[in-house]
Every structure is written in structure tokens, then in C-alpha cells.
Amino acid sequence: MKNLSSWAVIRTIAGRELAAYFESPVAYVFLVIFLLLAGVFTFTIGGFFERGEASLGSFFGFIPWLFLFLVPAIGMRLWSEERRLGTIELLLTMPVTIPQAILGKFFASWLFIAIALALTFPVAITVNWLGNPDNGVIATGYVGSLLLGGTYLALACMTSAITRNQVISFILALILCMALIMVGFEPITDMLGRWASPRVVEVVSGFSVLTHFDGFQKGVLDSRDLLYFLSLIGFALFTTGVIVRNRRAG
């Protein structure tokens, strides 16, 4: 028996978690729905062809909305399932620290989102075949999408630590993610702009994922945007740790 490094423990937990996705049909259903909706949004509603430009703008533009429903669905089971099955009692009596368990679970689901995103490669191929897009912009778009997914996921991880009921966990995560979109959603900021000063509107919309996702869509890698997503992920995972630590039983 060796003393495992932290990383090995995280990898073991992540491995089990990722396998759990693919052992149930949910993973495949999710992937199909995601790819289908991505396709519909990009080509039909997004007007991919009508735009007449070689870019994935119509694809990435819908990602925050698409992820809004799909990512909480991925994250909702992370801790609620452990509670419901009682396996949280096994997991936390193993030689595993709570941060290791949280990171293991988070990375597994993040990897799952990355797989889902990677499977949208035909869109990128299509646009390259039809024209000469700026592939740098496409790359930052994917990076931004992954960070956005990670942020939603960290929030879902947090809400799933609160309850053993996956539906409640899903709805709470949905509400949180929705709030993060809404504060930067144009109709909302316009409304806010009618009675608040532009400075206030700017501060409020600064909390929105939309505001920070925008740069990635345009091919700009801004360290402030990176910092925004990473600190939100960090904050949500830290809070998950506090919740798990304080509500182990029950």
C-alpha cells in the first residue's frame, strides 16, 4: 500500500466519476441533445448561412444559453447522488481529503463537457470548408466555452452539495446560472439603464458571464475575463468544500 499523491487520488475519483457518466444512458442522451441543439441553434436560428461570414459566431453565441440547461444537468448528481446512496460516508472515510474529492468530481464533469464541445468539431470543419475563417477566433471561442461550462459546473457542484434531491440541485443551479446571464443580458441592462447611471449598469453587467464571454467570441484573450471565470470556479468550489464539510451526514 503506497501513499498516493494528491493528484493520483483526484485522478482516481475523476476516473470513477467519468466512467459513471458513460455507464448510464444519461451521458449519451446528453451528448445527442447537446449536439442536436447546437446544430439547430447554429444553422437554423443562428442563421449560419444567411450571415455570409466564415465564423462560428452563431454557434458560440448560443453556448451560454445552451449550457444554462445542460451543464446543471451534468453537475446535479455530483454530490446529491453520493448523499442519496450514502456513499458519501464511504468516500469521506477513505484516505481522501474533501478538496481532493471535490476536484476529482469537478474535473470529471468538466472533462465530460470538454468531450461534448470537442464533438462539435464538424461545425468547425464545415466553416473551414466553406470559407476562410479566423481559426484563432474559433480557438478562443472554444476556450471561452470551456471556461463558461466550468463556471456553470462549479455552481452546479455547489448546489448539489446542498441537497440529496437532484431536481432541487438542478433548479438551484439553473437559477444561479440564469442570474449570471441576466445581469449582462441586453434587454435587462437596457431596462436598468433607464433609471440607473451608466456606471452602475457597467458594474452590474461586470458580474455577467455574457460580458466576459464576449471577448472570447471575438478572439480576444483578456486576462480579466480569464480571472473572472477562474475566480468564480474557485469561489464555487471553495463554497462546495465548506458545505460538504459542514453537512456530511444527512
Binding site: 500500500m1 503506497k2 466512467a19 459513471a20 460516508e89 464511504l90 477513505m94 484516505p95 481522501v96
Partner: protein, 338 residues
């Protein structure tokens, strides 16, 4: 190897575990007895580091569970009360996962999995999804999980729960055998298990330890321990009773059966609970019988009964209330009559 000092746990105003101290060494099997809700599971959850105690100290093989949990948890195998496992996994992949997280890799992992599969007789279901297994198999899968790293300390919360009588027996045999080289704590509310598997037992009631000793020590706390049951021929109950009352080692006698030919009775020793007084009593009774020319048809010193001790220690309050309400109930009809 596992040492617990002044462990307490409160959930809000309710004190679930109150100042529990215990120690289990290598080669010991400690039975943890108590009625439902006495605090057995809560204590075990604290021992294994799942929930933190409100106060007190826990050390496993010299490692403090609160300050240095990882090495302590490494030396511990735990079977939680509900025997949870990841239902969507197969038995094999579940055990491999536990082995991996316990730091076993490659050949070590394969060997460990093989060993516990054999030990818990899981060969026939190894490839099956845990969700599809019967309760007994699910339980044993979780038990196998607790043994995979051959831990020095085993904490088993109701290990025989949900097993059929044969499996229960197997489980106890297994526990006793493993107890020769490990320190084991297991909880139960089945009293025969104490006799069958434990070297020592603790009775806990409302969060407090009310008794601690070997199964025989506990039994000797029973009122009946050391009492003499006998059947005499050629004597009337009244004479026997009056003669016995004269003996200094007799506390009281209880007539069990009385007919013309013979009288069956139980004689309680003066100092209940001490094995010696039983011997003294038996000697005195035999002497008296010979002297009085009673014919002894049956003569037996009783061992004391665990269930009696258990009841008297854990039910004292309820029994008291019940006796009171019965007394009141009996008084009322009497009043009505008068």
C-alpha cells in the same frame, strides 16, 4: 489500536453521544450493543472520521483522527450501517476503485480484490452491476470494500443486518477469525452475536456507556447469575422456604412449581453477580438438602442472561414508567368498585 477519550456529540440540543471512552487492542473484538437510537452509529461515524465530534479525542494506531485524519483513515476499514456502494458499477469495478483509492495498484490491487472476493464469497456475482444484486450480496460487497487494504482496525456498523441466518453465522465466524489479528469494533442489537464473536462488549444507552466487560462479566451482572435452580422431592414448598430463609447466603427464593410430589424453585444468592457467592450458595444448599433428607432431582447453577442485563440496563426508564402507569391503571378499577 483504537482509542477514544471522552467522545461527545450533540445535534442541536440533543446529546447523541455523551462522554464515551473506549479502547480496543489488537486481537480484540468489541461488541457495541445498544437499543436503536442509543448512539452506536453516531459513535462509529465519529471513529471513522465521517463526522467530527463535539468534543473528545480519537486515535487510530497512534494517529489522531481530527488532526491527522489521512494516516488514521488509511489504517481503518469501515462498513457503514446502510452498506452503501455505487449501484451503477459492477462488483469488480467497485472493488478496483476502492483498491485504487486505498493506494493499491497493479498486481497488489488484483491480489487484494481476489482475496476479498474469496473471503466474502462474491465470485458468482463479480461481473454484475451492484444494483441488480440481492441485499445479502450488496452487503457483502460493501464488507469486501472494508477489507480490501487488510486494515489493522475494522469498524463494522451492524455487519449482520439484512443477512439470512446462515450468512449471519458466516459473518460472525469471519469476524471472530479476523479479530485474532486485528482490532474490531462492531455494533449489533442481536445479543447472541456477542457470545459468538466478541471478546468484549460495551452496552450503550442514550449516548452513555452503561456496561463494559467480557460477555461473561456482563452476564454475571444479571440478577440470575449464580442463582441455583433445583427440583426437590419429598418436601413441601412452605418448609423448604422457611429452611432456606435461615441460610445466610440466600437472598430470596422463588417457587417455580409446587405440587404434592415435588417442588421446583430458584434460589438467588445473597450477593448477586459475584461468581463466588454462587459456589457458596450451591454448597450450602446441597448440605441443607442432605441434612433435611430432601431428594434432589435437579440442581443447576445459572449463568445469567445477557438479554436480562441488556433490558435492565437500557430499559430502566421505560420499564419504570410502565410499572407506574400499570399501578395507576390497577388502582382505578379498585376505586370504582368501592
Amino acid at each position: 489500536m483504537i482509542k477514544v477519550e471522552n467522545l461527545s456529540k450533540s445535534f442541536g440540543a440533543k446529546r447523541a453521544v455523551d462522554d464515551v471512552s473506549l479502547e480496543v487492542g489488537k486481537g480484540e473484538v468489541l461488541g457495541f450493543l445498544g437499543p436503536n437510537g442509543a448512539g452506536k452509529s453516531t459513535t462509529m461515524r465519529m471513529l471513522t472520521g465521517f463526522i467530527p465530534p463535539s468534543s473528545g479525542r480519537i486515535s487510530v494506531c497512534g494517529h489522531d483522527m481530527l488532526e491527522d485524519p489521512i494516516p488514521a483513515k488509511r489504517r481503518l476499514g469501515y462498513l457503514p450501517e446502510s452498506a452503501p456502494s455505487y449501484g451503477e458499477m459492477s462488483v469488480l469495478s467497485f472493488l478496483r476503485f476502492i483498491a485504487a483509492i486505498r493506494g493499491l495498484t497493479g498486481e497488489d490491487s488484483r491480489r487484494a480484490v481476489r482475496r476479498v472476493v474469496e473471503l466474502c464469497s462474491l465470485e458468482s456475482v463479480i461481473g454484475q452491476t451492484i444494483d441488480t444484486l440481492s441485499k445479502g450480496f450488496r452487503h457483502r460487497t460493501c464488507f469486501a470494500q472494508a477489507l480490501i487494504h487488510d486494515p489493522e482496525v475494522l469498524v463494522l456498523d451492524e455487519p449482520t443486518d439484512g443477512l439470512d441466518p446462515n450468512q449471519k453465522h458466516e459473518m460472525r465466524t469471519l469476524i471472530r477469525r479476523m479479530g485474532e489479528t486485528k482490532a474490531i469494533i462492531f455494533s449489533t442489537h442481536i445479543l447472541e452475536e456477542v457470545d459468538e464473536a466478541c471478546t468484549r462488549a460495551i452496552i450503550i444507552d442514550r449516548g452513555r456507556i452503561v456496561a463494559n466487560g467480557t460477555p461473561n462479566e456482563l452476564k454475571s451482572m444479571s440478577e440470575r447469575a449464580g442463582a441455583v435452580a433445583m427440583v426437590l422431592a419429598g418436601a413441601s414448598a412452605a418448609t423448604v422456604q422457611s429452611k432456606l430463609a435461615g441460610l445466610p447466603s440466600v437472598l430470596r427464593t422463588e417457587i417455580l412449581q409446587d405440587d404434592a410430589a415435588r417442588v421446583a424453585l430458584r434460589v438467588f444468592p445473597q450477593k448477586a453477580g459475584s461468581a463466588n457467592s454462587g459456589g457458596v450458595l450451591a454448597g450450602a444448599l446441597a448440605e441443607l438438602a442432605v441434612h433435611e433428607n430432601w431428594k434432589i432431582e435437579e440442581f443447576r447453577t445459572e449463568e445469567g442472561r445477557l438479554d436480562e442485563v441488556f433490558r435492565s440496563l437500557t430499559l430502566s426508564d421505560t420499564a419504570h414508567h410502565k410499572a407506574q402507569s400499570e399501578a395507576q391503571g390497577a388502582a382505578q378499577p379498585a376505586e370504582a368498585q368501592s
